[in-house]
Symmetry: T
Subunit: 158 residues, 12 copies
Amino acid sequence: MTTTPITSTLTDEQQSVAGKALQDTLVDLIDLSLIAKQAHWNVVGKQFRSVHLDLDELVTVSREFTDAAAERATAIGVSPDGRAETVAKTAHTKGFGEGWTKDSDVVESIVDNLKAVVAGLRERIGVTEEADPVTQDLLISFASKLEQLHWMWQAQIV
Amino acid sequence: MTTTPITSTLTDEQQSVAGKALQDTLVDLIDLSLIAKQAHWNVVGKQFRSVHLDLDELVTVSREFTDAAAERATAIGVSPDGRAETVAKTAHTKGFGEGWTKDSDVVESIVDNLKAVVAGLRERIGVTEEADPVTQDLLISFASKLEQLHWMWQAQIV
Amino acid sequence: MTTTPITSTLTDEQQSVAGKALQDTLVDLIDLSLIAKQAHWNVVGKQFRSVHLDLDELVTVSREFTDAAAERATAIGVSPDGRAETVAKTAHTKGFGEGWTKDSDVVESIVDNLKAVVAGLRERIGVTEEADPVTQDLLISFASKLEQLHWMWQAQIV
Amino acid sequence: MTTTPITSTLTDEQQSVAGKALQDTLVDLIDLSLIAKQAHWNVVGKQFRSVHLDLDELVTVSREFTDAAAERATAIGVSPDGRAETVAKTAHTKGFGEGWTKDSDVVESIVDNLKAVVAGLRERIGVTEEADPVTQDLLISFASKLEQLHWMWQAQIV
Amino acid sequence: MTTTPITSTLTDEQQSVAGKALQDTLVDLIDLSLIAKQAHWNVVGKQFRSVHLDLDELVTVSREFTDAAAERATAIGVSPDGRAETVAKTAHTKGFGEGWTKDSDVVESIVDNLKAVVAGLRERIGVTEEADPVTQDLLISFASKLEQLHWMWQAQIV
Amino acid sequence: MTTTPITSTLTDEQQSVAGKALQDTLVDLIDLSLIAKQAHWNVVGKQFRSVHLDLDELVTVSREFTDAAAERATAIGVSPDGRAETVAKTAHTKGFGEGWTKDSDVVESIVDNLKAVVAGLRERIGVTEEADPVTQDLLISFASKLEQLHWMWQAQIV
Amino acid sequence: MTTTPITSTLTDEQQSVAGKALQDTLVDLIDLSLIAKQAHWNVVGKQFRSVHLDLDELVTVSREFTDAAAERATAIGVSPDGRAETVAKTAHTKGFGEGWTKDSDVVESIVDNLKAVVAGLRERIGVTEEADPVTQDLLISFASKLEQLHWMWQAQIV
Amino acid sequence: MTTTPITSTLTDEQQSVAGKALQDTLVDLIDLSLIAKQAHWNVVGKQFRSVHLDLDELVTVSREFTDAAAERATAIGVSPDGRAETVAKTAHTKGFGEGWTKDSDVVESIVDNLKAVVAGLRERIGVTEEADPVTQDLLISFASKLEQLHWMWQAQIV
Amino acid sequence: MTTTPITSTLTDEQQSVAGKALQDTLVDLIDLSLIAKQAHWNVVGKQFRSVHLDLDELVTVSREFTDAAAERATAIGVSPDGRAETVAKTAHTKGFGEGWTKDSDVVESIVDNLKAVVAGLRERIGVTEEADPVTQDLLISFASKLEQLHWMWQAQIV
Amino acid sequence: MTTTPITSTLTDEQQSVAGKALQDTLVDLIDLSLIAKQAHWNVVGKQFRSVHLDLDELVTVSREFTDAAAERATAIGVSPDGRAETVAKTAHTKGFGEGWTKDSDVVESIVDNLKAVVAGLRERIGVTEEADPVTQDLLISFASKLEQLHWMWQAQIV
Amino acid sequence: MTTTPITSTLTDEQQSVAGKALQDTLVDLIDLSLIAKQAHWNVVGKQFRSVHLDLDELVTVSREFTDAAAERATAIGVSPDGRAETVAKTAHTKGFGEGWTKDSDVVESIVDNLKAVVAGLRERIGVTEEADPVTQDLLISFASKLEQLHWMWQAQIV
Amino acid sequence: MTTTPITSTLTDEQQSVAGKALQDTLVDLIDLSLIAKQAHWNVVGKQFRSVHLDLDELVTVSREFTDAAAERATAIGVSPDGRAETVAKTAHTKGFGEGWTKDSDVVESIVDNLKAVVAGLRERIGVTEEADPVTQDLLISFASKLEQLHWMWQAQIV
């Protein structure tokens, strides 16, 4: 399909800025959900239960935000791309190691990944202020929740 | 972590066969869920609503089965790998095209992907009968549901 | 509609065996639900309340299994037939007498009908093992529940 | 059981009129539920999903009304007969063809069957006004819902 | 309070007829709920459990109808009287004996009381047809349910 | 669309009478819901909370009845008209004043509006008895509830 | 039934004391529930809504406690008597006037009735301490809730 | 009532700007809900079911936002006006044609109306940024949801 | 673990008395739950359904009380012992015979077991009054419920 | 307001004793809920998750008991005082340190605070036995739950 | 614990501004919840019920916002302080008088306290715009709800 | 009762094999539930909370499977024996030590017990394949869940 079937109330410029911010957020969030699931299955150690459960909450949050980001893109007429290959190639996350992983290593890895995703969001909040306050408002709500989770995971390190 | 922290009641041979069947199933199911979401966002056409909703049911099923496959692997002492890159490189699905997609094209693509995933499952049901009847029973339940969905999607083509 | 719009991953031979097993099961289950409803309305006697309520549980189970059997047939590309006339002519149940019926007679009639339906299922479980393990698994789950109900109804006779 | 165990506050004349109206309604409704299920399984075409789902709503309504009609018969001392053979022989519905059926054909068949059932109800509403206002009120509630469904199915033809 | 604070859209004649029908129904229903509770506590015998539970369903129905009857009276500007003394003096029920009561005696007593209450309702359905169709419709719904219960209790006698 | 796509089992005469009764009821109920919302927002005074909450219950009832009236019209093949302008021009309600309104004034206004709507319903209950008992039954159920609310609002005036 | 079918672990003396306390409580609570319903229907005035709703909460509490008192009597082998005439003759409540009643009068009447019921309970809490601590504990729980309601109703007088 | 009973923490200037934005939004949203209901009843065509259901979701959203807009107005001391005549005269929507309407025409009409309502919101988001960020935040949330619906309806046109 | 990790606010004397009362109660309740389950599976006879269901309610109550007794022991620093061997050796219940059991025999056995458990509780209520009113209150609540069940089971014998 | 608007069935002496016991309990419980929230926010360490969640359960319990204590005071005619300054000045808790706090320190602090609150309750249970058994019963239920929590928190120290 | 275990993505300057805004908000909200509870218990007068219930809604809102404010502080690495003494000394609320309080006085006091809390929020919304848009967004959502409540309480004064 | 009241569709040989497998499973599962409860009460240590909660999930699973095993035995005409003494004497579990137990010791003990129960199940899955596929299917479902729990408990050891 070569033509664009969904129109937008934004200018081309605004659409381009907001669209890029949303596509970048989308791949980060999908990867975050895959990383959290990977950790959910491979964690071992005394804190197994609490880490295992916390990770599923992170999965739920990531998936919900993924959908919200993608559907905001469609709402401004931009086709979102969340396919495996696109995620593998363009996400700005820190990734997750192979095989069984000790609980304390899992916690540190999640903190690092959350930090990376939040950093991207903070930047895009600045960029979208002018382009589209509706998109900005969505990114603020993502940052709000992920910064809360960042604290909760970090609090387990001390 | 180089040692294997989780022991299994299966022999090494059985563990190897069942573990491979589960890992192969895992990546297919993750990719199926990503494909279904991609289609969910990009579908356009008269049947938009029903296709859009059906796809979310497929996402839910795929995610549930993904978790079951991964946790069956851990239960027999095999570390599952569901990271983006692994999925992108090893899944046996048919993929999904770029950008906005017409509803009838979406339906055909989903039918093709379901067919491919079911074919893999059917093969592994045969392979695991000896190795581990518990794993086989799980794969049978996956096939049962995905064959039902295969019918429902195919029924929309005529 | 002369052509077959729904394809199957089974061979023609397998499809034929599994399809017949499912169609035979389907009519038995529909008739079982109609018999249970008939008894539900016509029972009289001291045990009225418990028999009346138990029969509705049997109706619910029969209807749920009916749907599962029919949709398994469609999943393997076989069109199911559950119309009144087909049921009246082909079901292997024992039927139910006319008019108001004493509670103890109802109990015996239900036990007989359950026994007949289970006997059919046991036979088809053997037949479908080779043809389609997914269909076999479904029939096993039907037998499991109906044998439980067979015990519960029989326990009221002593 | 030759005697009538359930007494009625109606006269024999009233009981006979109301009892016949309820028995005729009963078989029509059971057949309607079997037809709707048959269509639910065998429909194919672009509108598969919406037709498939609508049919299950029709099944639910038919079953609920079936029970209400049968239990109103018992309440006035008349034994209801809802067995497969009685339904096959005495229902005034239009039936449903064999095998896979195109969505538009399903819609037309359902409209025809609803029309036939409503026609029977309208006649019996007139007949029961004198005999038993309680029975009449029940038949009015059936007609009200089935005429609503008649509109909804017909609206899909245009 | 000597004046009537609630006005009615009915004529004085209509209000008087409908008001009397509702007040008579009200006391019958309150007494029915007290009788059912009394039986609920004092029943003994093999059928204890089913009779005990059935009686609570009768209590629930009676209380719900009591409220509906009273609030219909208020809706047409008639003050309802449901005080203990009024109930004790004016109800047309058959009452209930003192002390522990055998299950079969309970069943017969409930059937008798239901019959008496239904007889009153049938009479008032005739009387209110002209006076107020809204009140008549309410009384029809009471009769419908109580006749169903009359069957269910009677079915336990045989 | 010039032709009538929805057929009816009523005669043209009956359809015309019932259709008019339903259209008149429809606009009255929509306006009642808008008046109740307007009052909900603008009420001030000691009884603010109870009046504010009661009004939302009235809104809920009005909207539910609106939908039932409109869908009864469609069920008999009559296209309902509930657009703002039609409501503004044809409703038989008493309206509601501008700006902040004292609680006691709100109560009186609601009583007046309910009285007007009920008066219309009472008239149409008489008119539709012959034309369509199904429509009449619906209007009776509206009157029943609105007369109950009329009492409840009036009870607050004394 | 002349013999006592239910045995008790209490001595005859203890059974007699606890049994009387429970029977006295039973009739008070039934009458309280009838009084509260009577007030619920007949209240008029500015506070109509809050008084009307509060009264239904009192009905619910009274009915729940009634059942608990009666079933405690049965548990110690004493047949409870909650029939209309027994209530009318032996309750120690203050009663409720005839016809429509102003909200402030309702509040005062309820406060008086609650005070009378609580006074009876307080007395019986003292009496049952020796006879049966289980019965005493039940009466304490009744007093606790009714004293709370006594405050809430009294708080509306000031 | 000539005086203003509700005070605001905004300056007169701010209150005037935000108040106007909210009143304009209010009438647009009420009309949108009436238009969606009108379409809900009058739609005919193959897509009847999905369009009929989607419209009710739009009604729900519109009503929820209507209430939020009106109560934000009251929160800043401005009396909202949502009466039928005010809506009919001042709404900036595109309206909806008379009588039965084809599904594709309904979809286009809804897209046009959503576009018009969103355009108004976008303008007011700019205007209220300075005057009242709380009001602006509310309007952003409306735009976010309505732009999502705009995409979903538009996606059905292709 | 030789030391006592959980401290108590009771004196050693009080702790010893209350601890023994709770441990004795604990084993009785576990055995009661096992007996009830054994009866639940092995009952046969006309009353099968009601006895079968009642027994599961007894299981639920016994398990809930078991947990409460054990956790009250831990709360006062006493380690509870609910292992199979301890139960088999120290419970004061009457046990339950082997194999299929007639419904009337089941009822009598349950009445005997309840009587034995209640007798133990009554004794410990006396003993703990001084030692620990909190423990006593818990035992009173157990006796209250089990005496109610004792009545309900006994009522089925007559 | 100088006069006492709420009367009590207790003597002045009894009211004074029970009132003081409840006011002392009230401030302890409010402070316990504030301490638990403070710890909930400031805890860090490996056990973060379980401690964080446990603390919210303690908050819920404390708030529920606070309300029960205060409303028992009102029920006996005593005005409760739960304002911040009163709590800060009169609570007998052990307080909680400033800033981020290690999980093991949190656990010890909570155990100490629970111990202090329970000690107060135990004292008041003795004092209120004569004065008011209803109040005593409430304090016993508080002690029962808080002693259970005391065990659960202490069990984490070992 | 002297070091700061939780890091932040904000600069020191931003963290300081946002942290202060959140700490100030925190103590105001805790005090608001304590004031609302105090009023909830001590209110007397004709409007007792509605004021009593409204106050609990205010408590719920205040507690929810308290938690959100505190956890936003932790999310940016600032330790929140919500202890009783801190609240008593630093809150900017208007407080609440001692003892039983007339309903109209309660309403005025709540309006004053809400006004004071909103004033603080409005100031901090301005201050945090630059420092941290995520914190600002949270404060806007608090203001939105509290201004709504301010209207609802004020509406009761007129 | 010497005769066997429940008949089976299995041959005597099949019944004997399947019956023994189910009885052996039954006692293992009951003992597992008692062991898990014992551990639930006696665990102490840093991981108290997560171990305490996990154990209750194990209790729930064991009880559910116990019931399923026992009712499968009845379904094939074999009387199950789950009495305390039978469990104490015939279970193949590893047992659980006396008194308070450290969390790490609890984890190891549970892993050992799960391993023993799974080993028994694996053996019986082989044995019942021929005798009764319905029983085998049940045992496979038990093994599937218990192997998952085996992993989860083992994961906490590392």
